[in-house]
């Protein structure tokens, strides 16, 4: 299949401006004749739903959470980037663009990233106007801080709760539209499948999680903003409910899944404490601004941190990457931590952890300054570990955190299925093979507030869409299939819980497709995952009924999809025999052990197409060309 990215002609900094003019508009009076279905109410979904409502479209928004305000964007801590250059430190749209392309290890679409950098500026203005209480300087102007992977301060933040505050802004904007009647929200409602009519996305099948009622909603376009799939690792920093169902069902209906192997392992998470562990907690990587990362020089050093003298500590990031030091990008920091632990120099129970030490910063800036900057993170750490980070160094370890891969979209954020738009983390995104800190919030809001409201109008204006109701034969068919699947899950009545399968899958993924991958491990997974899936469909137990509030049934459906998706992720990882960003292929490294990219053979987006159960997915390639940024091997030395 030929992938048409629809990137407009012209110099990169003029493309979006030109494109906006070229996009067809929908007459204001006609907008109310269209209905847009938005699935997911995180930053991307809520901002899109609010903007559509403001423009005059009818919107139906869906989320599985009990309130749209609880989408997992809420957990983002550190901040949001914008090329405002408020700090007078040489920032510009071009620099943000450059940093993001480079940070993404040259696996992102240049034009998209430039647009993102341009829009970043408007996002901050919009959020301030909505009442997002960003941190301020004493003079009353907006404060900034620096973040991993960059050398300027361009990150705006609201304490350690930036995601929460931005989401509340978008949620409130959406609630306002609910009040005007433009948006109708369906909370505790999960999308089970996608309805295509004449090849275009025209509806979704949902399950009301309270009553169990299966319903079909139809409209003129479907927008998926359903987040990422990091929970394929079972243990991740994602919320327990985050799942791959919506985009996986779309994939099975023909949408292409791009770069699923690009997953981000975040370096600053609280280490695992036991078998029962249900999720991992991330602490903002802004901690790396003032914390110094180290492990003991000696292997199996059992002394407490305070008794290890300076001379016997290895500040390995500062040693290996003198110019970026503790602020190297996430993938580099994570791999370095793994390497230290693999050498037997890890700290804490199980030796899976490294120190993040604030002693120097506290000496230099005082405890109060540190508390002002990171107080809530320190509290959170203490609550979980019962250790006081003002006194003893934090212990951190990488954890699965974000998915750069996702459904393939063109420049208009439309997938290869007409009328199916994919926003935020759910699309294969602007982050290439690795996302820089404070860029996810930027992308989610850029997509929702400032891109899709324009591009969807172009689609609607150009398409001739017949009326499709819930009684359309295609809708009926998809609804029957979704029903069937749930009935099947309930009928197995096996011996194992959905969670136990999820844990097994997670372990396979972490061990063989985590921070470092090799052909052998991936082949193991490609064999083991189908076996596990087969066992699941024979031996899972789901109690209760379909027509009621049934959390086991929700979980089982999500695990079933992860069991299919995990295999595709490994397949993609297996085919990409290069190291890039979050995907480190052991067969492809420099003599010093740094990631080695292979631009000759892999400078493309891998977009996989579903060919049927048991069939090998089809690989489509979208070549990546770089006109403004030169392909170089990343170096943070």
């Amino acid at each position: 299949m030929e992938l048409k990215s629809n990137v407009p002609e012209g110099p990169v900094e003029k493309k979006w401006e030109k494109h906006r003019f070229d996009l067809k508009l929908v007459n204001p009076a006609n907008k109310r004749k269209y209905t847009i279905l938005v699935v997911g109410t995180g930053l991307a979904g809520a901002s899109a739903a609010a903007s559509f409502g403001e423009l005059g479209y009818n919107v139906k928004a869906f989320c599985f959470q009990d309130s749209p305000r609880r989408a997992h964007s809420i957990a983002a801590q550190g901040g949001i980037n914008a090329a405002k250059n408020y700090c007078n430190d040489g920032d510009s749209v071009h620099r943000l663009f450059y940093d993001t392309v480079k940070g993404g290890d040259y696996r992102a679409r240049e034009a998209n990233v430039h647009r993102l950098a341009e829009i970043s500026v408007s996002i901050i203005d919009q959020c301030v106007a909505q009442g997002v209480p960003f941190a301020r300087e004493y003079g009353g102007l907006l404060a900034n801080r620096s973040f991993g992977g960059t050398q300027v301060s361009r990150t705006f933040y609201a304490r350690g709760q930036t995601g929460q505050q931005l989401l509340l802004g978008a949620y409130q904007a959406m609630e306002r539209q609910i009040g005007t009647g433009m948006v109708k929200v369906f909370p505790r409602t999960e999308m089970l499948d996608l309805v295509l009519v004449n090849g275009a996305a025209r509806g979704i099948v949902t399950r009301n999680l309270v009553t169990g009622k299966i319903e079909t909603h139809t409209g003129d376009a479907v927008v998926l903003a359903t987040g990422g799939y990091a929970n394929v690792f079972y243990l991740s920093t994602n919320a327990k409910g985050c799942n791959v169902m919506a985009i996986w069902r779309a994939y099975r209906r023909g949408a292409l899944m791009a770069n699923p192997c690009y997953t981000q392992i975040h370096p600053t998470c609280i280490p695992v404490s036991g078998e029962y562990q249900s999720k991992l907690t991330l602490m903002s990587e802004s901690l790396r601004n003032d914390g110094r990362i180290w492990v003991p020089m000696k292997k199996d050093d059992a002394r407490p941190a305070s008794q290890i003298p300076e001379s016997e500590r290895d500040y390995y990031l500062e040693r290996r990457y003198p110019s970026f030091g503790n602020l190297v990008p996430r993938d580099v920091a994570s791999r370095a931590a793994k390497a230290a632990c693999d050498e037997g120099r890890g700290v804490g129970p199980g030796k899976l952890g490294v120190y993040l030490d604030f002693a120097d910063a506290i000496r230099r800036l005082g405890e109060k300054t540190i508390a002002d900057k990171y107080g809530n993170l320190f509290e959170m750490y203490e609550r979980i570990t019962d250790e006081n980070p003002y006194k003893v160094p934090m212990r951190i370890f990488p954890a699965s955190h974000y998915a750069m891969g996702g459904l393939w979209v063109d420049y208009n954020l439309m997938s290869n299925i007409p009328g199916l738009y994919v926003l935020g983390e759910a699309n294969f995104s602007d982050h290439g093979a690795n996302r820089l800190g404070a860029s996810a919030l930027m992308q989610g809001l850029a997509d929702g507030y400032f891109i899709v409201p324009y591009t969807i109008g172009d689609y609607l204006a150009k398409s001739k869409l017949e009326k499709v109701g819930a009684d359309h034969p295609e809708a009926k068919k998809v609804e029957a299939e979704a029903n069937e699947r749930l009935k099947k899950l309930l009928a197995i009545k096996g011996k194992r819980t959905p969670d136990s399968f999820h844990k097994d899958l997670g372990k396979l993924m972490w061990d063989n497709c985590g921070m470092a991958r090799n052909a052998k491990g991936l082949e193991t997974n490609l064999q083991r995952i189908p076996e596990l899936r087969e066992e699941f469909w024979k031996n899972v137990t789901v109690l209760g009924a379909g027509e009621e509030f049934n959390q086991s049934l929700e979980k089982a459906g999500r695990v079933a999809d992860f069991l299919e998706f995990g295999e595709l992720l490994c397949l993609d990882a297996h085919h990409r025999r290069e190291s890039c960003g979050g995907h480190f292929r052991e067969e492809s490294q420099t003599p010093e052990g740094e990631a080695l990219r292979d631009d000759q053979n892999f400078c493309y987006v891998a977009a996989w197409g579903f060919k049927g159960d048991g069939q090998k997915p089809e690989l489509n390639r979208e070549p990546l060309t770089f006109e403004s940024v030169h392909l170089t091997q990343r170096s943070y030395k």
């Binding site: 009990d66 305000r69 409130q172 404490s273 991330l282």
Partner: protein, 257 residues
């Protein structure tokens, strides 16, 4: 550690519900409270008994989904902590824990420990926003905001909408939640144009949802995992009374060309 749980089991909103006793003989102090419930649920499922339904999502204390009243205290005994961030080290070996859902007419029980808090969304819908459309915003730095003001606004904005304030209030009042939102927006210059109107509309909706009245017991403040204070309730009272007493009634205006 051995924990004896007395958990509220209720099939649906119209079921009477009752406390059922379960034993977890091998809880670990490092586990979170919800992980302890996970362990219980896995065992119940394996035995063919339906697991305990409870709401949870982020498990890092920010989404506001979780909430269990443990021995009469919403989110359990540890101050400034959500249920998901509560660890078993806060309890002792041999403890008996009574686990109940948030109880309020405005929060009907869905099943077991899960309740419907959509009343909160409807209160926000009534006016908990600043009415600006996308795209019309001036530069972020065009309105300087004193740091103290921004910080105070952030204190209020930290509300996670969990509903512990309602659960803790002897009268099931939602004043702290509503006050937090009204204060978050009302403190900022951007929120001034709608400040008094917002207070009036949100309070009216709050009253319509069937929450109780505030009797200034300050139980809400003690239960709030984000330590939001009743100071904001006083602020809301001021704004609301000012709106009620001094604001001009809305006039129907004729449409212009």
């Amino acid at each position: 550690m051995r924990i004896t749980l007395h958990i509220w089991r209720q099939k649906g909103p119209h079921d009477a519900g009752r406390l059922v006793t379960y034993e977890v003989p091998d809880a670990s102090p490092e586990m979170s409270f919800l992980e302890m419930l996970d362990v219980l649920n896995e065992r119940l499922t394996a035995k063919g008994e339906e697991p305990v339904a409870f709401d949870h999502d982020c498990r890092e204390g920010i989404c506001g989904t979780c909430g269990v009243v443990i021995n009469g205290i919403p989110h359990g005994p540890r101050a400034a902590t959500t249920t998901c961030q509560l660890h078993m080290r806060s309890f002792r070996d041999g403890d008996h824990l009574t686990c109940e859902p948030w109880r309020a007419r405005a929060f009907p029980v869905i099943r077991d420990l899960a309740v419907d808090r959509s009343a909160f969304d409807r209160i926000v819908e009534a006016g908990g926003f600043i009415g600006v459309n996308t795209g019309s915003a001036p530069d972020g730095n065009s309105i300087p905001i004193p740091k103290k003001t921004a910080d105070l606004s952030m204190d209020a904005a930290a509300c996670i909408g969990c509903g512990a304030c309602v659960a803790a209030c002897p009268n099931a009042s939602a004043m702290l939640f509503v006050a937090a939102k009204i204060s978050h927006l009302g403190l900022l210059p951007q929120g001034q144009p709608e400040r008094f109107d917002r207070a009036a509309k949100m309070v009216a909706r709050m009253d319509g949802e069937g929450f109780g009245n505030c009797t200034n017991t300050r139980e809400c403040e003690a239960a709030c995992p984000k330590e939001i204070g009743v100071e904001f309730i006083a602020r809301m009272n001021r704004d609301f009374l000012r709106a009620g007493v001094a604001d001009r009634p809305e006039k129907a205006t004729a449409g212009g060309a």
